[in-house]
Symmetry: C2
Subunit: 390 residues, 2 copies
């Protein structure tokens, strides 16, 4: 954790402390407490110290694991299970025990806890800037290494997917609906089968995963469609993998688009255009440039070729219909945003760059690399070739 950066960013808050009530599923909580508690627990940052409050069942593990100055348990505040009000009383006692009469909470902190503390005379302000999220955006070298390691697993999984797709046969020349379907061991090769291969590969390399996208044809035209059913030759197949290391909890993220056989001319054009948009966006990644600048660089390539973007038509449902990228860390989507209005890039930002084109009548193409912003530009630590036709 960037403790100095944390102190800097929280310095102008007008409250005595910063309070998080969440489980490890919340990245701010995991970052500030360093503790993988499966149930919600409290972390209070005040006077430069991190204080953690957990239930008895978590106490031993929290004392060992948490990156906290103090770890206490419910019993230290004379709490036995006695329902919601007793629990809120305990929370208020814990906060006051640290000399804190006012706290900031992140915007997605629980309103139940906020209102309960207010009822007990503790002032609660919403940290609308979500400052801990901002602190998280700039990675230490250790964090960058963790993401890099997850990316190595990601590449192994992508390789497994590519081999499965490239090794498929194509169903024969009849006139029936099956023509062009990819076959593996005589069975149609489905999105689900490729996803399974990816996820098993990731598990064997110590990564968990939330969702994987293997989407072909019209499905690939919806950037959030995870894909299902048989894949086909001569269509674009988007493979987007974002694993999370079980050990470090850091994520990686990469997308490639493949085509078995000869890509139709439009898809070929889209792919080349997207590769150029990727290069243009990557060229723009350096400290001092904004996320908006990087997004603009990608948009310009598409717009010059006559493809719609959100800049030229905010309501378009085809063309380049998402942002150019996002930060990656404990969350797979975090700060900074590479989009219109996106913030200034700083050394230590780890971001994806992922232009793409979409149209249900054509399909979808996306290419995504993951890079770290350095003092004088960026380092692309994606080690996977960019190749369309298999």
């Amino acid at each position: 954790m960037h403790r100095e950066r944390l102190d800097d960013r929280l310095a102008d808050l007008e409250t005595d402390g910063y309070l998080i009530d969440a489980s490890q599923d919340d990245a701010n909580q995991l970052y500030l407490s360093g503790f993988t508690g499966p149930d919600p627990f409290l972390t209070l940052y005040a006077d430069g110290e991190v204080h953690v409050l957990v239930g008895g069942l978590e106490y031993g593990r929290a004392r060992k694991e948490a990156a906290a100055d103090t770890v206490e348990r419910h019993a230290d505040y004379d709490y036995e299970y006695g329902g919601r009000e007793a629990r809120n009383d305990m929370y208020a006692r814990f906060v006051r025990n640290k000399g804190v009469e006012s706290v900031s909470m992140p915007p997605r902190g629980p309103v139940g806890t906020a209102d309960a503390l207010r009822e007990r005379g503790i002032e609660v302000a919403v940290d609308t800037d979500d400052r801990i999220r901002e602190v998280r955006a700039v990675k230490t070298d250790e964090e960058v290494d963790a993401i890099r390691e997850a990316q190595r697993a990601n590449e192994a999984a992508m390789r497994a997917a590519e081999e499965l797709i490239a090794g498929a046969d194509v169903a024969g020349d009849g006139d029936d609906a099956e023509t062009g379907v990819l076959l593996h061991d005589g069975e149609p090769l489905t999105s689900e089968r490729v996803t399974e291969e990816i996820e098993v590969t990731l598990l064997r390399r110590g990564c968990a995963l939330d969702q994987t996208i293997v989407a072909g044809g019209a499905q690939a035209a919806d950037p959030h469609d995870r894909g299902s059913g048989p894949l086909r030759a001569n269509e674009a197949i988007i493979v987007d993998i974002f694993p999370r290391s079980k050990a470090t909890k850091y994520n990686a993220d990469m997308t490639r688009t493949f085509c078995v056989g000869e890509p139709p001319a439009t898809l070929r054009e889209w792919y080349d255009l997207t590769e150029r948009a990727l290069d243009a966006a990557l060229d723009a990644v350096e400290p001092g440039a904004t996320g908006g600048d990087v997004h603009a660089a990608a948009c310009e390539v598409y717009e010059d070729a006559g493809e719609p973007t959100f800049r030229t038509d905010p309501e378009t449902e085809t063309g380049f219909i998402h942002s150019t990228g996002h930060g990656v860390g404990l969350d797979v989507h975090e700060s900074p945003r590479l989009a219109s209005g996106g913030e200034e890039l700083e050394p230590g930002h780890v971001i994806t760059v992922e232009p793409g084109l979409y149209d249900p009548d054509v399909g979808g193409v996306r290419i995504e690399d993951i890079v770290v912003v350095t003092e004088d530009g960026h380092e692309n630590f994606t080690e996977y070739p960019i190749e369309f036709a298999l």
Copy 2:
């Protein structure tokens, strides 16, 4: 969804509507909206209708997937990306557009949204009872079937784990530290290796998973320790698996404890006692009994044998140191609680029953089945033998 039950439970709220701001990761959101949105979106329940508001990228999928009466997108409220205040203005317009001037939010709803709506003149109350969570606790037949299906995958994974453990060799009779370590293909059999086998089995059966517990020896004495390193003969190995079906999003949950070779006398005693505690608790499961009654039935077996429980010593760190069980559904831990003060059981509750004993000097034993409360008792749909020594 139990729409009638929902209307019943929300009827006494004094607000015009019920608002959820969350992604699909929030079980209340998934339940009420039926939509698997990866980013936070709004669902408003008012006048018996479900209204969903999503970003443009999700709109097509939400219209197809969501179990909602209306699905709208940000552009319908003249919103383009313009930062936080513009977003909050849009949220207020959406709520007012449905004739709603006051909303309830669940206790873990985001305080940022609650306060922003309050600033815009919309009254926000916290539904401290978390009524949608309560509605979720009673399952429809379809939901029970989904959990049952996840449990079948769970049993396949448990079988794979048991076979791996039972098939292990035991490191030889020397005096060194390796004596008694389980060996698989000549290498120490670790918690991580067994976990991998479990998770790969679950993936192949369409289940995702969050965390799996394979903990031996002293590690098994901490109910939340996920386990690491080599497993050994003559120690208790707790295997706790809680997969989630990718298709239905419903969870299952089961625990078995194994021992390779001859269990030490204390562990053997603990195992028999725990099996009796399980039977006693299961006998108590019927409509009208409370979660507290079921917990008491398990505690009595342990207490009669002189083992400490939270009832006899709230600060004990050994003995039966957790609740007897919990509801299972879209969340792996949900209502009802089988613990002191736990609520009355109703037909349709799906619950785990999972007594256990723990002491770092001895190890840990836990046996967990999953059952559904029926009109005249319960149906145990766990189809896995209860056997200690392998």
